[in-house]
Symmetry: C2
Subunit: 118 residues, 2 copies
């Protein structure tokens, strides 16, 4: 379980920093589903899938409902809000400085291209 806000962000961003887990989230956004079905698209053992799900659960992004031998996973997007808010905090920064930065970097790229003979 995650304690403070920073650890929550750690957990959420870390959970999202893996393509398998992002794909799982995308799948769960369609509808809740069981482990085997969730595992189907991936060339990976069920044991590995189990671990990925546990990471998602640890970040609070997935809620598991056990009925007999069938585990149903459901997406809970609320922990993403912390992440999106953190990121959104920088939209202001973009608006303020993006133009100047873009110009500078484009100039840099142009110089690099010239150096590369492009």
């Amino acid at each position: 379980m995650v304690n403070n806000k920073s650890e929550q962000l750690d957990a959420v961003f870390h959970a999202l920093a893996d393509p398998t887990r992002r794909a799982m989230i995308a799948r769960l956004a369609q509808a809740p589903c069981g482990i085997t079905e969730l595992a189907a698209p991936f060339d990976m053992t069920l044991a590995a899938i189990s671990k990925h799900i546990k990471v998602l659960e640890g970040a609070g992004l997935v809620v598991r409902n056990i009925q007999g031998r069938n585990h149903t996973c459901q997406l809970d997007t609320r922990p993403m809000l912390g992440g999106i808010e953190w990121l959104r905090h920088y939209e202001q920064f973009w608006n303020q400085r993006l133009d100047a930065l873009t110009a500078a970097l484009l100039a840099e790229d142009a110089a690099a291209d010239q150096a590369n003979g492009n």
Copy 2:
């Protein structure tokens, strides 16, 4: 350097999944600054700081400008856009299902609280 979109997301989310690096980004959002100044708040070797900066650079979040022995780091928020878009994709999901999910989870919490005697 990052190749495709998925690897870009991997790199950005991974870069953000560490409190030191998030703090660095927050600092750089105020103004560009040198390595030593950037390192000041952290109880950590310059070598460790150097590695963190390299992770941020690898994700494209920081651009370095070298003048003599002084390296100036500048925030580039553009790679965050990929992350924020990925996350934003689920806002729709929230709006659609948040109510039902919240209700279900609150009921669950209430049941747990009752079980805990709260």
